[in-house]
């Protein structure tokens, strides 16, 4: 971009890409976290709180899964323990899915923007 009187910095920013649709889809994901910020009524307040709680549980659930895999790889779990651990985590994942459905939340809804620390998930 050449800077010139016809193209000063206060002109509209240029956007350059060869993949418009892909980026549109990606940016819509980013701004689609906005949907729950919609109405000023009780239902979305409840949904907002559910989202917060479920996000935290989801975060912990993922940590638990990672930890379980790590221990499994570390070789200090018996086959029975692996089986039990797997079943428990499987049930937890299923339960969380049920709760998400109940509150009408998608996977993308369960995320927290912690600003300088980044996104939670």
């Amino acid at each position: 971009m050449k800077l010139s009187p016809e193209n000063p910095l206060s002109a509209e920013p240029e956007i350059e890409t060869s993949h418009v649709e892909e980026f549109v889809e990606q940016l819509r994901c980013v701004t689609d976290t906005l949907p729950s910020r919609i109405n000023i009524d009780a239902q979305s307040v409840e949904q907002g709180l559910a989202k917060l709680v479920l996000t935290l549980i989801e975060f912990i659930r993922r940590l638990l899964e990672k930890q379980a895999v790590r221990r499994m790889e570390g070789g200090d779990l018996s086959p029975e323990q692996i089986e039990e651990l797997g079943l428990a985590l499987m049930r937890l994942e299923g339960k969380l899915q049920e709760l998400k459905t109940q509150f009408g939340l998608e996977d993308e809804d369960l995320n927290l923007d912690l600003g300088p620390i980044g996104r939670l998930i």
Partner: protein
């Protein structure tokens, strides 16, 4: 009557011409201590997030970019004049530090998508052992998933490092965020000194050609939205990095 605030700036005494703001209200330059704030009057309690308002906000902040580098306020900031005064006088050192950081610069935005690789789908076809219980199968699948995402994190770091090295020396500061869900998405904000803008563009063009497997989006110049933050203070006060 509240004020809609657009940005904080220094070095300008008056507007160059009439500028229309939110709801068509005229924008004026309010002097506060030795700084200035672009404001317009606003009559309701909340600002509707419409295309028109978002674009108007951006246009107003942009209108001074030729003459100075402003610190944009977040879209939708409504205050009374008194609140604005308190904010400025209480935050003055941090704001001046922030203005100094962005002085003479503009923000360029670079976003990169790396579409899903073929290795990911191959992994999923691994067969399970016949006498494995449901729980063990579940964990094995999770293991593949987690390894996949660790791979993507490594890829993300590689791209981030490569990008940083490609424009090394041309940016005063950078902010990078990475999402590695199904496909890798990296968003970088670069604070570029104005005289370096041309060379920055050239280096970015060359970088894009060097990595045809990546999909790029370059936009700018923008006022320094991503570099307007008083979290700087938060970090030094509380040791968060």
């Amino acid at each position: 009557m509240k004020l809609y605030v657009y940005c904080l700036l220094e070095g300008i005494d008056e507007m160059n011409g009439p500028v229309r703001g939110i709801s068509g209200a005229p924008v004026r330059l309010q002097a506060l201590e030795n700084l200035g704030v672009l404001v317009s009057d606003f009559d309701a309690d909340a600002v509707p997030v419409t295309r028109e308002n978002a674009m108007t906000h951006a246009a107003v902040v942009r209108s001074v970019l030729d003459r100075t580098t402003p610190l944009p306020f977040r879209f939708g900031t409504l205050v009374t004049e008194q609140q604005l005064r308190s904010y400025i006088s209480a935050r003055k050192p941090a704001l001046e530090t922030n203005l100094a950081l962005v002085r003479g610069c503009v923000e360029m935005s670079m976003k990169i998508i790396w579409p899903v690789s073929k290795e990911a789908s191959k992994e999923r076809e691994e067969s399970t052992e016949p006498d494995q219980g449901a729980g063990a199968t579940f964990l094995a699948a999770k293991r593949r998933e987690i390894l996949g995402s660790e791979l993507r994190s490594a890829q993300a770091n590689e791209i981030s490092t490569w990008l940083h090295e490609s424009i090394s020396g041309l940016t005063r500061d950078e902010k990078v965020t990475i999402q590695s869900s199904e496909r890798l998405f990296l968003a970088a904000a670069h604070l570029v000194e104005r005289p370096n803008l041309q060379r920055y563009r050239e280096k970015m063009s060359a970088a894009r050609e060097a990595r045809p497997e990546l999909h790029f989006l370059l936009s700018g110049p923008w006022p320094p939205y991503s570099f307007a933050n008083i979290e700087l203070e938060f970090k030094t006060q509380f040791g968060v990095s």
